[in-house]
Structures are given as C-alpha cells and as structure tokens.
Subunit: 146 residues, 2 copies
Amino acid sequence: MSALFDPLLLDHQICRSLYSASSALTRAYRPLLAPLGLTYPQYLVMLALWERDQVTVGDLCTRTRLDPGSLTPLLKRMASKGLLLRARAKEDERKRVIALTRAGLELKARALTIPEQIACASGLSLEQGLQLRELTEQLYSHLDTA
Amino acid sequence: MSALFDPLLLDHQICRSLYSASSALTRAYRPLLAPLGLTYPQYLVMLALWERDQVTVGDLCTRTRLDPGSLTPLLKRMASKGLLLRARAKEDERKRVIALTRAGLELKARALTIPEQIACASGLSLEQGLQLRELTEQLYSHLDTA
DNA sequence: TTATTTTAATTTGTGTGCAATATATTTGTT
DNA sequence: AACAAATATATTGCACACAAATTAAAATAA
C-alpha cells in the first residue's frame, strides 16, 4: 500500500494533531493559571461560575463539558481552597448548589488578561482562531449527539 | 462590558472547544479500540511502531508526542499484554529498544478499518478534516517551539 | 400508600498528563 | 584516569478522564 494513502500513517492522523494541540494549549495555560492556584479544568469551572453561579453540578457539567465523575472531586478541591461553597439545594436534596465565595469572585479580576495572552501565544490569527473554533465545535457536537 | 466582547465568556473560548472536541474524539476511539485491548495513547504508540519499530523510548515520545513520564508505564502495560518487548540497547545501556512481538505486529490487520470509521463518525468532510489538521498542527508547533 | 423507576451526585478503579526528582550511563573536561 | 556535565529512562505525587457501580432523594406507577 502506498504510504501516501496508508490510513494508519501517524502523520495523517487528525487525532494526534488534535490531541497534541489540545495538550499543548492546556500546557500553555498552566503558567498563567498557576499564580491563581488554578488548573485548567478548574479555570473552566471558574469561567462558568463567573458567568452564573448558584448553579448545580449538572449545570456545570453541561457548560464546562467536564465529566460529573471528574467534577465532584475537582469542586471539593476548589471548595477547600475557599473559592466556592457546595451546599445542598433545599427544594431538592439530591442537588448541590455551587456558589462563589468572595475570594472566588475576586479572582476574576486577575484572570482578565489571560485570554489575550493565550491568543498571542497561540500564533493563530483571529480568523484562524474562529475557524478552529467552528471546526472543533462541529466535531464536538457531531460526536456528542451520536 | 458587553457580553459580545467579554474575553472570559465560555462560549468564546477556543480552549473549551478544542478540549471537548479532543476528549470526544478520544471517546469515539474507545469502543473501536477496546476489542483490540488498546487505549487511545496506546493506539498512538502502536501506529508509531507499525511504521517503524526497534526504536527508543525517546523516538516514540517524539513521534507520538506523548510524555516520557507517561510513556514508561504505558509501555510496561503493553509489554505485559505481550504486544512489545523492552530491551536494553547494547551500544548504549541507557536506552531501551522497543520492538513489536508477533502479536503486536498482527494486531495491525485488525486496526485497518479504524481510520475510516472515525472519519465517518467525525461528521467532517475531507476538506474540513484537512483544515482542522492544518490548524491544529500550526497551533501545536507554535506552542511547542515557544 | 407502597413499590418502581428515574434523577443527581458520588465513589471506585484503571489509565493517563506532567512537573519534579532520581538513577544510571555516556560524553566531555581537566 | 578522575571528575563534571549531559543524556535516556524511570519514579513520585497530584490532578484528571471516564466507565461502572453506588447512594440518596424525587417522581411516577401500581
């Protein structure tokens, strides 16, 4: 079989490109998030909570696209750092209500410059960034609904 | 600040799109790889070895883009499954030479149809796939060299 | 009301990811 | 040759990813 069309050739795999790019981007966030005491998935949770808090674990799963099994211990760690509170919902004791503390809220100010720093470090033009977002959104939604 | 330009808005984050798309793609591989007894990173290693084996751990790191700290235990698991051997290099005792076993070699035949199945499940056109690969390659190489 | 099913979150176990540290071997220096 | 730097892996510790099993509460059915 010609190497040009070998379906198993590593250099042809979108998966490796996507996987390594995603890992590299997470790695790029690390030094920016470390001063805030956040990991990258924790940053996603904070982004969600800065938009809207007093929400359930399930809502955070949906909006961050993180796994419930990962989210529970992650939220516990963030609560122990004093960033948020995990209370039971009064109207439905199965649910938890996640609420930011003052410290969690105030952390937002220190995160404001991160997106621009990442955009710069990415080396992508604005147009390329939008294109990449559209393609990955399409891929995600197609795989997620199937 | 207008929500349209809020840099911290989740829906504007390329990182979340990339992260969730990459996770979803890995998840899509899982049911295809499970019958072969492989995880996704292990599959990347097998792709590399099917192309060229009798190589060092460092070579596998480079080609799969996986971390050396992840690769060592991963290779041990694959060796214990009988897919490969981890011998010391005679000319340089620091290095290990990773070689496929017959079973590892023969597994390739059962993996041949995976790329097409993934391509189909992705919902991306050929052109979109190429575009996505180019963008993620650019992102990876830019972040990796910096 | 009691029993069944569904839902929300948690727990468990295995496999990573990765920074930091350690170990052993080789190469380069004095 | 003895010693210092560099190299190739391996180890450690913590954080995640995720399928599967579990728990507890709420909704629904009998």
